[in-house]
Amino acid sequence: MKPRSKRLVLVGVGVALLVGAAALVLNAFQQNLVFFHTPTEVAAGKAPTGRTFRIGGLVEVGSVQREPDGVTVRFAVTDTAKTIPVSYQGTLPDLFKEGKGAVVQGRLEADGTFRASEVLAKHDENYMPPEAAHAVEQAHKAGATVKP
């Protein structure tokens, strides 16, 4: 083969490889995006069913309850407008507390309970997860526009 056609083949193979890799990456990307919804959106039925997503807000004061087995926890996440009941099995993060911000990842059950696979609280006591802060802020804004 002439050097010129050799180079063409090499470039062709390289481009094919890159296209394949890009297709792989984008496909995986689309399938594994985790969207965030505020409790108000979930209550309005805007959240997907049968797909993992995240909700965030404040852990409602007085809502944390443990099942007799000790490792199943029920609590409620609120953005001050709407409240979503959550159930979770496992150890809660150190900074999980009633009245503090938390972000929860999981799926919505048919009965309206959010079954969490992961509970995220933050590394710093004074720090509010931005998603949780965002949810509360959205709820306040919505409240302000409804009121005359």
Partner: protein, 657 residues
């Protein structure tokens, strides 16, 4: 008084960095040796003042000088001395000062080990490093002065974030920074080559050891960080695909591509412009990592800066560095083209393939890390990209990398014929598939992923063995000791690092497949079983540490009636911040870790306890350690010194021409 000296010294360092950035570059372009000679003393002076400034801040921490705001926010009189010292880089300002110090250390190292470099070239390298210094010292002085006074001084400090009060945190940031910032030397070499428009095998030979050493530090830093996350975050994971981890992993992937591309440039003169681009990319990703971690755009234990000015400054720095270097690249790279030609079937092709794959992998991490930030910044909703994405991408991308990695060394440089090459590797390849599938069935976990992982690991180990045998057979007749000694340390470096990848894959595969865990409510005297181990809860006592109060549990671990260990997981409450912390207890073994962490206390005096069985998890870090060790061997090869000395006069003549 001492803090003011530190501040003043930082200003002096800034002035010297300006001199170091401007004068040698001007001298190099006008070919005035007097101006070029300024670079070395300026760099050394800058190092002295940055180091002095760092010492002043350390002194403020040691003496608990709470009239310095940074100290008051991140230290406490009850904090043990060693955590007061590591508190220096426990937050934004101090860690930036560490960044500047590490950059000065690398620069001084260049001035010391550069006797064989031509003056013009050295002047350009020091000039580029000086420019980076100017950026970071200006950043420190303008937005993040660690010596800011708090008047009146606080009576007591707020203490360091408890998560950072850990031995791993003593060495993790300095190691990681040595890696990040070390790529600035490779970057400076690349820019100097672009400026001079000349780049040859000698250039690659100068650049290679620096790049390899930086890569070793980065590897070690990431490994320590991963180990810290494993035992400190309390739930036994070793990698979370967290944006902060990705920030260090992206430069690592590109840096790995760079050290291999440099090998081709040195041996065969090929891939020149590609090597330069990778050097620019690796350093840009290091800066991007600093931006992501330090600007507060992502939330994690690392994100300290809440002042948007700071994020903007690093972003500006990032844009300038990437913009200027890519412009220079576009302008000058065409001159670098050419070099050794090679056939389809050759070691060059194998290395090129891996280079492309590693770059794609790095880009996929970049996409997964930045896309959520972009959407958020544009107000288009909040999303997150979790581990499933990265796993779905990494397995198919890294599988060919590992296959090629062990196939490449069997191929000759420049050109080889495919048939004989395939016949050389076929037995090991077939055997490793058999071993992988067989082993997966033997451990009772025959999923495709386990088979693939074990087959890849077997391929690495078998091919490594075959390579060693082939290498030893190269000098028939010689005594085996002489044959062993005849192998250059660079070859050992490659061999060890590649073997390390195999060990790493074994760890990742097995801990992923066989890992077991159990969250259970336990009372005193109660027993729980997991993976053949039995855990008896012996109750919880109060224990007090220097700056925290702990509830300390005792668990007896046994297997088949034989006592194995007594573990003491703790739940700590750090007094100064009132922050709770889980401190896991681990019985580390060569083939498995038994990991226990203490959850919360329930009203009926029982406790939630998390039990984990982590088979082969230490192999992950062992593999990483082998990779780093391989890098040390590769960088310490005698030929760098010898060849560099021999070629220096010739190279100098060419540079001057």
């Amino acid at each position: 008084m001492i803090p003011e000296l530190g501040h003043f010294s930082l200003v002096l360092a800034f002035v010297l960095s300006l001199v170091q950035a401007v004068v040698p570059l001007v001298g190099a372009s006008r070919n005035r040796s007097a101006l070029m000679a300024v670079g070395r003393p300026a760099a050394q002076g800058q190092f002295f003042f940055v180091a002095f400034s760092f010492a002043c801040l350390t002194w403020a921490f040691i003496t608990s000088d709470f009239s310095v705001e940074y100290v008051a926010l991140h230290s406490n009189t009850a904090t043990p001395l060693y955590y007061r010292i590591t508190g220096v880089w426990g937050s934004h300002e101090g860690s930036l000062l560490l960044w500047a110090l590490v950059l000065a250390v690398w620069t001084v190292a260049v001035t010391v080990f550069s006797r064989h470099l031509p003056d013009v070239f050295l002047a350009r390298v020091l000039g580029v490093l000086g420019c980076i210094s100017v950026g970071f010292l200006a950043f420190l002085l303008v937005t993040s002065n660690p010596f800011e006074r708090l008047l009146p001084g606080a009576p007591e400090g707020r203490d360091l974030n408890p998560l950072l009060q850990d031995p791993g945190m003593i060495i993790h940031p300095p190691l990681l920074y040595m890696g990040y910032v070390g790529f600035s030397v490779a970057f400076a070499f690349a820019i100097a080559a672009l400026l001079s428009g000349r780049m040859d095998a000698a250039w690659a030979r100068w650049s290679r050891p620096w790049t390899t050493v930086a890569w070793v530090f980065l590897t070690a830093g990431i490994t320590v960080g991963s180990g810290w996350a494993y035992y400190e975050l309390g739930w036994g994971g070793w990698w979370f695909w967290d944006p902060v981890e990705n920030a260090s992993f992206m430069p690592w992937l590109l840096g790995t591509a760079l050290i291999h591309s440099l090998a081709v440039t040195e041996k065969r003169g090929a891939f020149r412009s590609w090597t330069v681009l990778l050097a620019i990319g690796a350093f840009s990703l290091s800066l991007l990592g600093t931006f992501l971690v330090r600007s507060g755009v992502i939330t994690s234990v690392h994100a300290f800066a809440t002042d948007p000015k700071r994020g903007l400054f690093i972003l500006f720095l990032l844009v300038v560095v990437i913009g200027v270097s890519l412009l220079l690249y576009a302008w000058r790279a065409p001159r670098l083209s050419g070099g050794g030609s090679f056939a389809f079937v050759s070691r060059e092709t194998a290395l090129l393939g891996n280079n492309v794959l590693l770059s794609v992998a790095s880009a996929s991490v970049l996409l997964g890390t930045l896309y959520p930030l972009f959407l958020d910044a544009l107000g288009m909703g909040k999303i997150s990209v979790g581990p499933p994405y990265f796993e779905a991408v990494f397995v198919p991308l890294m599988t060919p990398v590992v296959v090629l990695m062990m196939f490449g060394p069997f191929l000759r440089w420049k050109g080889d014929s495919l048939g004989p090459a395939l016949r050389r590797v076929a037995p090991a390849f077939v055997a490793s598939i058999a071993v992988g599938v067989g082993a997966a069935f033997a451990i009772g976990h025959a999923t495709p992923r386990t088979m693939l992982g074990l087959a890849l690991a077997a391929w690495v180990v078998l091919a490594s063995a075959q390579q060693l045998v082939a290498r030893l057979g190269e000098r028939p007749g010689a005594a085996s000791a002489a044959r062993l000694r005849g192998i250059p340390s660079a070859w050992w470096g490659m061999w060890l690092a590649h073997l390390g990848v195999g060990i790493f894959i074994i760890g990742v595969t097995l801990v992923g497949s066989l890992n077991q865990s159990l969250d259970v409510k336990m009372r005193e005297g109660q027993r729980a079983e997991l993976a053949g181990y039995s855990f008896v809860f012996r109750g919880v006592q109060d224990a007090a540490g220097p700056n925290y109060d702990a509830s300390r549990a005792t668990l007896d671990v046994s297997r088949g009636g034989v006592a194995i260990a007594t573990l003491h997981p703790e739940k700590r409450l750090y007094r100064a911040q009132g922050m709770p912390m889980t401190e896991a207890a681990i019985d580390i073994g060569p083939f498995r870790d038994v990991y226990v962490s203490l959850g919360e206390q329930l009203p009926d005096a029982s406790w939630i306890v998390s039990l984990y069985y982590k088979p082969f998890i230490s192999w992950i870090w062992l593999g990483c350690a082998l990779m780093a060790l391989g890098g040390i061997f590769a960088a310490s090869d005698r030929r760098y010194r010898k060849l560099a000395e021999r070629s220096a006069p010739a190279a100098a003549a060419r540079q001057a021409a």
